[in-house]
Every structure is written in structure tokens, then in C-alpha cells.
Amino acid sequence: MTGSQFPREELFAPGHRGCAGCGAAIVARLALKAAGKNTIVANATGCLEVMTTPYPETAWRVPWVHVAFENAAAVASGIEGAVAALKRKKGKYGEEKVNVIAFGGDGGTADIGFQALSGAMERGHDMVYIMYDNEAYMNTGVQRSGSTPFMASTTTSPAGSHIRGENRPKKDMPMIMAAHGIPYVATASISYPEDFMKKVKKACEVNGPAFIQVLQPCTTGWGYPAENTIEMGRLAVETGVWPLFEIENGEFKLNYRPLKRKPIEEYLKVQKRYRHLKPEDISVIQKTIDMKCDEYGL
């Protein structure tokens, strides 16, 4: 899929209540373009849910349901089961495949929703789980999650005189999901829309569970000007902090290799959440990224 082939139809309506430059809205918009009309969405509590459905308004032009924070994967399981039963017993939904897509933030996915997600993946439901990863609990005011990166400052992992922000590395969700033996796992970025949409399409076509973790820059939580959202996503990939890859039936494939990796400093220095970092902190982070990139062959 190239730019000119992007479906024009907007299944995610403009006019939501997100911050200007919100990356989560871009995630939803691109994912629905790729998945198409025949889709049912389950959404975890979080920014995406709150900003899109203040009753009586909705930004969703596909059927959409939200139940709670920690259960998007269980909700999607219920939908998938119901669709299968109603298809078989009552001839509903026609011949075409109905995509069941769950959206969860990093908190709703890697932390409180982790058990429900693991269960749903292990059970083999035919669903696509999209983790939109803004690397903290944004809806409640930027608290750390298991997906917050090392040394990032959040309101519950603040940089102080004794502690340099988050003291633990980011939880490795793609590898954890791959360990479930599911047919499709991928990372993506809103700044590489063709790659992201291709992956959503593939994930929908796969029989069984698919998991996509898409890095979603957040102007409010990361502290950068609203117009730089796409630039932030690009820098994450160009510096190697966010490699784009797929794991299809256990086989790892790198999707994008920057000609020359940019130094991590270029990514960190433009975000308020890293503003406390000293040169020696930055070189520690650079080292961990270099090691990771070596592992991935980047």
C-alpha cells in the first residue's frame, strides 16, 4: 500500500477531544483505514476511549464497545465468540470476515490488562490487539507504566535529586507476545503509515491472534510541541530506540533499516520527560540501545 492507495474513507471521524497533535488519534485513523468497514472495535479505558466517545458524540464509524480498563482483550474474546456463534447459528454477518480489533494503551495492555491479554492470545482468538504505546498512563496525568522507558520522568517516576526518573527498563511486550506462539507480532510507528497499515491489514488476514505495538508520541506526556508528533515518531525509529519488525509464525524480520542510526541524544533532547538527563545518563541509554540494535541486526 502506498500513499496514493490509502483508502479515502474515514472510519475514524475528525472532531474528537484529544490534544492537538495526539498520536493516538492517528493510530486509530490509520488502523481503521487498513482494516476497513467490516470491523468491530473493543477499546480499553484510556485517552483514546475518553476522547472519542463523550456521550452523545462518537468518533467511531464502526461498531465500538468499551467496558473497562483492564479487559479489552477479554471483551474482544467475547465479541469474537459471539460473532462466530451468530454466524453459525443465525447466518448473521454474511460471508466476509469480520475483523475484531482491540485497542489498549500501554497501561491497559502491559500492566493492568496483561492477564486478560495473555489469556486471549493463548486461547487463539481470531483478533487483532493494537497496543498504542505512549509510554505512560496519559489519561490520568502521565504516571509511569511498565512500558515507560528507562530514565523517563513521569509524575510517579519523577526525576529528583536521588532518582533519575524511571529506574527500570521498558517491558518487552513484542517478545512476550511472541512467546505465546501466536501467528503474528509486529511493532509499528504512526510516522511510517504505509508500514503500519500494511501490518494491520496482514494482522486482520491472519487466522488467530495478532499483536501490534505501535509507538504513539504524546505531546502532553512527552513534552514536545504539538506539530512535532510525526517527527518524534520518525526520530524514535531513526535512532534505533523503536525498531520496526515483524515476527510471523516465529520468524523475525526487520522491516526498516536506517542508513545511519542517529545518536539517541537527538531524540531525548527534544522531550521534556528527558530534560533532567546528564551526558553520562545519555551515554548509558545509548549503550543499551546499541546492544539492542546489535541483537536485531540493526
Partner: protein, 387 residues
């Protein structure tokens, strides 16, 4: 023709879900509910029931998946007990708020700590404000009949609320009794098909469910549930009557059952399997020329206050039996709810059977004797071992 099987209460619930031809089951095992979900798994495995059985990893997910399946448009059943019901607590509110007619069997069991698998009714009574209709069975036949009725009540357009069918753990869940199983076609003809207009997920007609309701809208959603609860009083009675006509089994008026209340001044209010023992004692005393009575609550939410008041018009001394306790108030849930409506009578609360403590016939006779002389408003813990 219908057939008679000698089965447990959990099997009766499973048979009823099968007769109702449920589309989706999402459940997680817990004693003493387990045999219900095992039985359902067998039905699906053997092709006796065409349903999707979602083997969830927790009760929280069981309820979440059930809500979603029902919100998609499928007839949905689940079952739990005690710790499992407590784990569901958060999403029980969501089920009612989203107006999904999920039917759930709950095997009444005490809550930890200390861990205790035996019967009391603390689990379901602690969920009384979640917006679920709560029905309680006295025996295994009533379990089957209630689950069938529950689908018809829940799916009624004037109601559209989830329904919890409660049965006492072990006392009913693990005791076999002869149960008449009606024919599937008769049951399906009675319940009808589920074709929701208010909650479904279909790409051809996109609907947003579970939206954010700000202070401008939230209160009305609660009022709508309360209105549905009030409507449910009539629907439950109507469904009961229609059921009685079709299947030849009746239980009072569907919400409460009066037993010898005409002449009795000393009466008991109770709920669940204990009512069987109480009825036996009433019959026994009648032979001696003594009139005592029972008001059995079959429907705890909505609480049929007017019916209860009316049924007790001849009573003087009312013993309210609770298998639950509101700690720090020293009253059980039924007493707390009902006593204030019986101001012209003496009401005494008896806390009984917590964590499976035996309640004997002598205890029941003792309560009838005690309520006559006891102080108004008192709470007695029956069978408590004192130091």
C-alpha cells in the same frame, strides 16, 4: 414430553442454559459452581449444545467476555461463586449500565478470610447495588425453572438487565434431587429468540456502546436502571405466571411466596434453601395446632416492598433470617432492607449459617419461640460458640 432426571443444582442450571440454547458461555471454575461449567463444557464437546465456550483466565474476564458477547447480540450465560463474584464486582456495574441481558448462576458461598468454601449468601448480597436482578432458589427444580425464566425476564424490552440466579452452595449445588426437564422446543417457544434493538455490534449498523457519560447524562442512566427494576417487578410476576401455565409449576407470585401467613402471628422472612426446612417446621407445628408462617423472598432485587408489606399484614412478630452480615452494623442485608418497611411490627434479626454453619430444625423452632418474646430490633447470632 418432559423427562425427570435426578441431578444436582449446578446440573439443573447447566441443563437450563442448554434448554435456552445459549450462544456464548464464558466461565471460570470455582467451588461449588464448578460442576455447572464442567457440564456445559461436556454439552458443547458432545454437540448437544451449539455454543462458543470461552475458557477465560479469570472471572473478571468471564464477565467482561459475557458483557461483550451479549453486547454483540448473543444469548449469554456464565456462572460463578464467592471470590469469583467478588472479582467480577467492577464489571457487574458495567453489565447493568450497558443493559446487557446476561444470565449468571451464582453458587452462594462465604468470602475469605478465612477461606471457606461453604454456604452463606454474603457474596451475592454484597453485589446488591450493581444493578443486577437477583433471584434465589429453594430447590433444584426451582434452579432450573429460574434460569429459564431469567432469560425471558432479562431480555424483556421493559427490563434489559442482567439476572443472577442464586442457589445455596453444597446444599443445592451438590445435592441430587429429581428435576423435571421440559422439552427444548417448549422452552425456546416460551423464552423466544433474542433480537436486540438496543445493543448489538454489526458493521452494517455501527453503534457505540459503553461511552463516556459526563455529569449531564450519568444520573439519568441510573434512573433508567431503577425504572427498569420497577418494570421488572411486573415482568417477573408475568413471566412466572406464564411459566406456571405452560409448565405447571408455580412459586408464590414469582417474587415472594407466602406459606401459612393467613393465621400466623409469628413469622420468618428467609431466602433460599433454608425455606424448605422452615416449611417442614410449619407443617409440623400445624399438626399440633400451632400456626407459624414463612415469607420466602424469591426476588431480592428488585425488592418487592409493597408485596412484602401486604403479605405480612397479619403478622405481629417478624424474624428476619440473614446468611450475611454487614460488619459494623450488626445486621444482615435482608433485615437492613426490609425492617424499615415493617414499622408496625416487631422485627428481630437472626444471623444464621455463616460459612456453612449448620442450621437445624431446632434452630428454626427456637427462632419462632424467640421472636415472640425478644426485644424489637435486636440481632441474634444463631449457633454462635461463645467463650
Amino acid at each position: 414430553m418432559s423427562e425427570v432426571k435426578v441431578i444436582t443444582g449446578t446440573s439443573a442450571a447447566a441443563e437450563a442454559a442448554k434448554l435456552a440454547d445459549v450462544d456464548v458461555i464464558a466461565a471460570y471454575p470455582i467451588t461449588p459452581q464448578t460442576t455447572c461449567v464442567e457440564k456445559l463444557a461436556d454439552f458443547v464437546a458432545n454437540g448437544e449444545l451449539d455454543a462458543e465456550y470461552i475458557k477465560v483466565e479469570s472471572e473478571h474476564s468471564a464477565m467482561s467476555a459475557s458483557i461483550a458477547a451479549s453486547a454483540t447480540g448473543a444469548r449469554t450465560f456464565t456462572a460463578t461463586s464467592s471470590q469469583g463474584l467478588a472479582l467480577m464486582h467492577e464489571v457487574l456495574f458495567a453489565a447493568a449500565g450497558m443493559r446487557v441481558p446476561v444470565v449468571m448462576m451464582n453458587a452462594n458461598r462465604a468470602l475469605s478470610a478465612p477461606i471457606n468454601i461453604w454456604n452463606d449468601q454474603q457474596d451475592s448480597l454484597s453485589q446488591r447495588d450493581t444493578g443486577w436482578i437477583q433471584l434465589y432458589a429453594e430447590d433444584n427444580q426451582e434452579v432450573l425453572d429460574l434460569v429459564i425464566q431469567a432469560f425471558k425476564i432479562a431480555e424483556d424490552e421493559k427490563v434489559l438487565l442482567p439476572v443472577m440466579v442464586n442457589l445455596d452452595g453444597f446444599i443445592l449445588t451438590h445435592t441430587v434431587e429429581p428435576v423435571t426437564l421440559p422439552k427444548r422446543e417448549t422452552v425456546l417457544d416460551f423464552i423466544g429468540t433474542y433480537e436486540p434493538k438496543h445493543a448489538y455490534l454489526d458493521p452494517k449498523k455501527p453503534m457505540t456502546q459503553g461511552a463516556l457519560g459526563d455529569p449531564n447524562y450519568y444520573m439519568e442512566t441510573r434512573y433508567a436502571i431503577e425504572t427498569a427494576m420497577r418494570n421488572a417487578e411486573k415482568v417477573i410476576a408475568d413471566v412466572h405466571d406464564a411459566f406456571a401455565e405452560k409448565f405447571n409449576r408455580a412459586y408464590g407470585n414469582g417474587l415472594i411466596e407466602s406459606y401459612n401467613l393467613e393465621k400466623a402471628e409469628n413469622v420468618i422472612i428467609a431466602m433460599g434453601s433454608i425455606c424448605g426446612t422452615i416449611k417442614d417446621m410449619i407443617d409440623l407445628k400445624k399438626k399440633e395446632g400451632v400456626e407459624i408462617g414463612l415469607l420466602k423472598i424469591r426476588c431480592y432485587r428488585p425488592l418487592p416492598v409493597e408485596m412484602i408489606k401486604d403479605a405480612l399484614k397479619n403478622a405481629k412478630n417478624v424474624a428476619i433470617l440473614d446468611k450475611s452480615i454487614s460488619l459494623g452494623m450488626n445486621k444482615g442485608a435482608i433485615y437492613a432492607d426490609v425492617a424499615s418497611h415493617l414499622k408496625d411490627k416487631k422485627t428481630v434479626n437472626y444471623i444464621v449459617g455463616l460459612g456453612g454453619r449448620d442450621i437445624t430444625s431446632e434452630d428454626i423452632l427456637g427462632i419462632y419461640a424467640d421472636v415472640e418474646t425478644s426485644e424489637d430490633g435486636k440481632t441474634n447470632w444463631v449457633g454462635l460458640k461463645e467463650e
